[in-house]
Symmetry: C2
Subunit: 411 residues, 2 copies
């Protein structure tokens, strides 16, 4: 088919930006095909083995020919298993009719498209998972990024909630445990958010994808709330180390769930039955596996944060959850885009620039430590060495913009 530069796309088409980390993955894979070794810190692509029960249940389903369609709302067995799982955790009155199965990333798009019209405003607390901004942009909504403060660990405070409410947005997106900061919000702050939103009829999209991976602070889920304009989105990807299953779910009141089911039916018909049977097995394994995963990520994040903080050029907080480090690179005098570009080209190490997570974050980069331990540690070492060298060997950019700041810095 012919190549062309004259094609005109739709308004939505022109506003597509995608996810930066998948562009980086594509470039890294190209380098690998050319024979280069790449250290992958760009994506939350867990190398921790999934529960063998999950793999086995998926294989059993495939062997039993379960390769047909299921209802658009999801495999009934999975929806019932989820209702039981949440019920056991104290969500009263929750049934399978509160659940819709769909990839969590897609659900972010589906939910926003279901409740907001072009021009409606959406509050996002930044740093934020890039898909929020990509989806808002694509749909034609107006993003209202509200910056959380590095000084208090990027936590949700009463002050930023008040700021969000004062903007009278259509939707507020909240993400605890947070990607990329690893912050886990307190029950008090989340309840205050819901209370204020209820007062003003504001929709809340709560992304709880990393709920099961809180190891330094207890997680509090909004799923127990009865607020009718609340939609919780979560995923099996991160907790059970199966990001490639592309299986997540929404929890919503039955009217919203029915609408989301129509969205699934219109968009993609349904998800595979065999991956969903694997997810049923995941819920049965539960804590026995999750304990090991949490221990692993707790150790990895601490170890990698130590390497970074000992460098005296890069710095990051030790996260309360998940497997990301949100690293301050200001002392390298490189901006995040240049830092990431050069780290990939010169040190074969892929990570994600901070500006993908919101405005004003060009002095941060995100490193995922979810990959194979030795590879991650090597990637972190390269990152640290590069940071040290960058400070000592200024780029053209830093030379012309901050010529005096480097003088006298000790390594």
């Amino acid at each position: 088919m012919m190549e062309s530069g004259t094609l005109e796309f739709s308004k939505r088409g022109k506003r597509l930006i995608g996810q930066e980390m998948f562009k980086i993955l594509e470039r890294a894979k190209d380098m690998e095909r050319r024979g280069q070794r790449v250290f992958h810190l760009e994506l939350g692509n867990s190398s921790f083995p999934p529960p063998s029960e999950v793999t086995q249940a998926t294989i059993d389903a495939l062997m039993n020919g379960k390769v047909g369609y299921v209802p658009s709302s999801g495999h009934p067995e999975l929806r019932m298993a989820l209702a039981k799982y949440y019920g056991d955790q104290g969500c009263t009155g929750i049934t399978e009719n509160n659940f819709v199965i769909s990839p969590a990333n897609l659900l972010i798009n589906q939910v926003l498209d279901l409740i907001a019209n072009g021009g409606d405003s959406v509050v996002v607390f930044t740093p934020a998972f890039p898909t929020y901004l990509a989806a808002i942009n694509h749909i034609g909504l107006v993003p209202n990024p509200i910056a959380l403060e590095k000084g208090n660990g990027f936590h949700l405070t009463r002050q930023v909630v008040d700021q969000a409410i004062s903007l009278k947005p259509k939707v507020i997106i909240v993400n605890s445990a947070n990607n990329p900061t690893g912050a886990v919000y307190t029950q008090t702050s989340l309840e205050y958010l819901i209370h204020q939103c209820a007062q003003h009829g504001i929709w809340v999209l709560s992304d709880e994808t990393y709920a099961e991976l809180c190891y330094r602070w207890p997680f509090w889920s909004l799923s127990a709330s009865e607020y009718e304009r609340l939609i919780v989105v979560s995923s099996f990807s991160k907790a059970y180390s199966i990001p490639g299953y592309r299986t997540g779910y929404a929890i919503a009141n039955p009217l919203v769930a029915a609408k989301l089911t129509l969205s699934c039916s219109t968009l993609f018909s349904c998800l595979p039955m065999f991956t969903q049977e694997g997810c049923v097995a995941a819920l049965q394994v539960g804590e026995a596996y999750l304990h090991d995963v949490r221990t692993h990520y707790s150790r990895m994040t601490e170890k990698c944060a130590d390497l970074i903080n000992q460098s005296n050029v890069l710095s990051c907080a030790v996260p309360d959850a998940a497997f990301y480090l949100f690293i301050h690179i200001q002392d390298t005098h490189l901006n995040a885009q240049e830092f990431c570009e050069r780290l990939l080209q010169e040190r074969e190490t892929a990570l994600t620039p901070g500006n993908s997570f919101g405005p004003g974050l060009g002095s941060f980069v995100r490193a995922s430590v979810s990959g194979p331990e030795e590879d991650v540690l090597e990637g972190i070492r390269r990152l640290v060495h590069f940071g040290l060298e960058a400070r000592e060997t200024p780029s053209w950019w830093s030379e012309h913009t901050t010529p005096f700041k480097r003088v006298g810095h000790a390594v």
Copy 2:
């Protein structure tokens, strides 16, 4: 979470209609959970076993821990295998950069959303796959259904192409081999369509999902065309009996393919790696398997069409491709909705009413004969018996609207 009737959805949200056959599936599954046996003719849910090589490749990938992310454009191996597959069939100059991996049903939505704005008109030749109308409706496009004629086997003619062009639509959707009619359009008619669209700068979305299942008429693919505003969508679902893999692809010029990749990245990140490795194996199996599938569906469609046509109350054409029968039920004096409703409730047999496939088709129903042979034959027998009884035992509706037409009808 609380139930509510006071929630307001977006314009797009209000226009969601989903796919009728998935609603029927959901109801049929509910009946099965209550212990009833249901004969499934509502969906193209093949029970023909997939190639063992496909299942094995998928299992191998799972066993090898390939449960992580791949690039948003698709697994590079699959895109390269597709380029080779189409190249071998005579598509010159086609490379992996022409391919994007995504569920075919989602691609219909993605393509329309990428090229058309709310209010733009889209021509659909009816009867048409319900997702076209659901996607058009959801996005806020203006559907221009153009009725194909039962009298000439629902074929694409120069006359309907001229009619389509005269409407100056933004997009024309064409679907050969056709769901639900089983018609395979001629090379002449498709080339005429492309030529006319090129003259007027009209986009063409060619859905070739059933390409490999043409058994009574040779298939001609538009993928060989170099028209820059052409996007071909296809799927592994039907040819390789893996609808539950939810894996399809678009073929487009590299600029459009890059835009669709951004759409995939924004919407769902990527598809599973292990299902895509299964699809690589499918392309390697190719003809050896497809020959058997075609023979099976050719036999099933002929056998079932015979049962229907011998009834003297229902009638259908023997399709040239795929596994659907588009059945005329006019002599039963029931409309399609009532026919399908009662057949499911009274005879435990699920099929899809004709009005799901476009306006003015309320005297047709679609039966899929892709299920297990004995179940399908039992479903068809129930359908025929019900048709005969309906003609003899008029419903309230037929009694009050066509009281005299039944007199003197022989069974």
